[in-house]
Symmetry: C2
Subunit: 337 residues, 2 copies
């Protein structure tokens, strides 16, 4: 066991894309658990577009990461030392352990996971908050019905790829919007989407007219910006837009670009509703059980895009999300597990 | 009875604010009813911000007014000739009779009104589509609850002034946003709003922080633009935004300005929903009965801002809406009734 805990701490609040100078790599001794505590050796870190928002000052749905603090991150790992009655050495756990190799925890918000049921990284993907976000966003907020036309943006990303698959399972006609031929092909050929639109080379609005002639009933939005505006022009009566993210805007330096076509909500008697997955914590277990069932039946794929390199690779790896370089859930391997 | 029917017809689709050259004043003979038809002598025309949208080409919640057609307008008047079994000479009626002095009708969409119960112009105000819009927007879409903090923009306008009063009746804490001291005073002193913000002289965001410290539960939006963006920053958890109109944007020549702060919907788990009053036609009667009851009890005031001058004054009078010069429901008196 290494005596050193490498950590990534926030050094400065970025303007635009985070830069190397916004981070400090710090070495600390591996912590020792006190009474009611345990130490986790982290195996995989979850990389999420939302992290960009956590780096900003000011009120949001979660407190900002303070300057000097270890960067917040979801992670899975293994308990290596414990003075906690409920967590034993050798157990695997999920929690907001931060961008570091070892985390001290009192168990708050920590869930045990079973690596014999699914690869550990999948607990950051379809069986983790990624899957929960897709599940509750699509079903509770989007209220998808059989036969609905569902459009998902960021469709080859972590949440989008799961949301589209759940929509298919629920009997919807599913259109993914993604950047690049490979992602679009993955949506249609591997995930079973009915159509995919490559926003980098195609006119999203014109293609939606072709593939969704009756209009869009549910739009699961991960990206915001021009794509949101394009989908707004194609809403069916009574459409539901789920606002899950706006990755196209997180690094904007001139202020967010709002949806200029929002009055389409009036024309279509449609709604646009924001969601935060934490509100559904009481139902995570039920959702994970259902998703695991779909995975066992081969109806839902969880794909993790695993980057090697440990915590020191975090600053550069995070940028892959904003460049659209990941397919599926982006995770950083930290330990050897 | 004049043998001439003066009409205002759409001559051109405007760019920005409608100009005199966008209209033609036409003289036609007063029509004669055929079998199943009747003729209405119009008393009052309803002037609505939505008219600006009807002048544009393209699909919306209602067909555009064609070039050369009589401008669409709601109106009240008196039947002066009838070959229709259900409408007798002397009866008073409401319908989409258009900007003209006399209208031929087959009765479709026409409702009888009783001038002994309320002044005829009130059937364009609180007892007409204005009142219906406020009622269903606030109650069905906004789902206002007792104790909610409700913000209404365009609060001294036709719909806003009624919406705010209904919110008060339902036990909400009501804040109006309006332009100018006179309107704000009217909101608070005559309509009983708890507070009013003068957007022309006050910082809306800062004032909302003062008067709605717990955040905004329901925002009834008639204006869009910067005021919508300001209210978005002050949403309470689970807030409902009713998108009824966007008068600040209807004459924009550089494209609509969308709400840059729309991601506040996510932070607040809030929704933004569009509404069109026509969807509630089956319940107009019930709503009008309830509103009439509130008026009788002195709990709700319908104020009509009556402009004289007949149909030829329509082009200039319409602009009062976009200059914010009306208080209450803007109507144009056409006949002598």
């Amino acid at each position: 066991m290494s005596p050193i805990n490498h950590q990534i701490r926030l050094a400065a609040r970025p303007t635009g894309l985070p830069q190397a100078s916004d981070w400090n790599i710090v070495e600390e001794p591996v912590p020792t658990p006190g009474r009611g505590e345990f130490v986790v050796a982290i195996s995989y870190l979850s990389l999420d577009p939302a992290m960009r928002g956590w780096m900003n000052a000011g009120a949001s749905y979660i407190d900002p990461v303070e300057i000097g603090a270890v960067m917040r991150a979801g992670a899975v790992g293994r308990v290596i030392a414990s003075e906690h009655p409920d967590f034993a050495v050798g157990e695997h756990v999920h929690g907001a352990f931060g961008v570091q190799e070892y985390a001290l925890s009192d168990g708050a918000g920590v869930m045990k996971v079973d690596p014999s049921l699914a690869p550990l990284s999948t607990y950051l993907g379809a069986l983790g908050l990624t899957g929960m976000t897709a599940y509750f966003g699509l079903l509770d907020v989007g209220k998808v019905n059989e036969g609905d036309t569902v459009v998902v943006s960021g469709a080859a990303g972590a949440v989008g790829s799961v949301a589209g698959q759940i929509a298919k399972i629920k009997g919807a006609y599913v259109i993914g919007i993604a950047g690049g031929e490979e992602k679009c092909r993955w949506n249609v050929e591997d995930l079973g989407f009915d159509a995919a639109i490559d926003y980098k080379t195609e006119d999203v609005r014109a293609r939606l007219r072709e593939v969704a002639p009756k209009g869009v009933d549910v739009y699961f939005d991960n990206v915001g910006g021009e794509i949101l505006d394009a989908v707004l022009t194609r809403l069916a009566r009574g459409a539901r837009i789920v606002i899950c993210g706006a990755v196209s805007q997180y690094n904007a330096t001139e202020g967010m670009c709002g949806p200029a076509n929002y009055m389409a909500l009036l024309v279509a008697r449609a709604s646009m509703t924001g969601m935060v997955v934490f509100d559904y914590a009481a139902r995570y277990g039920q959702a994970a059980t259902e998703i695991a069932g779909w995975m066992r039946e081969g109806r839902l794929i969880s794909r993790e895009d695993v980057v090697e390199g440990g915590v020191s690779a975090f600053p550069e790896t995070l940028l892959k999300l904003f460049r659209g370089e990941n397919i599926g859930k982006l995770v950083l391997r930290v330990g050897s597990a």
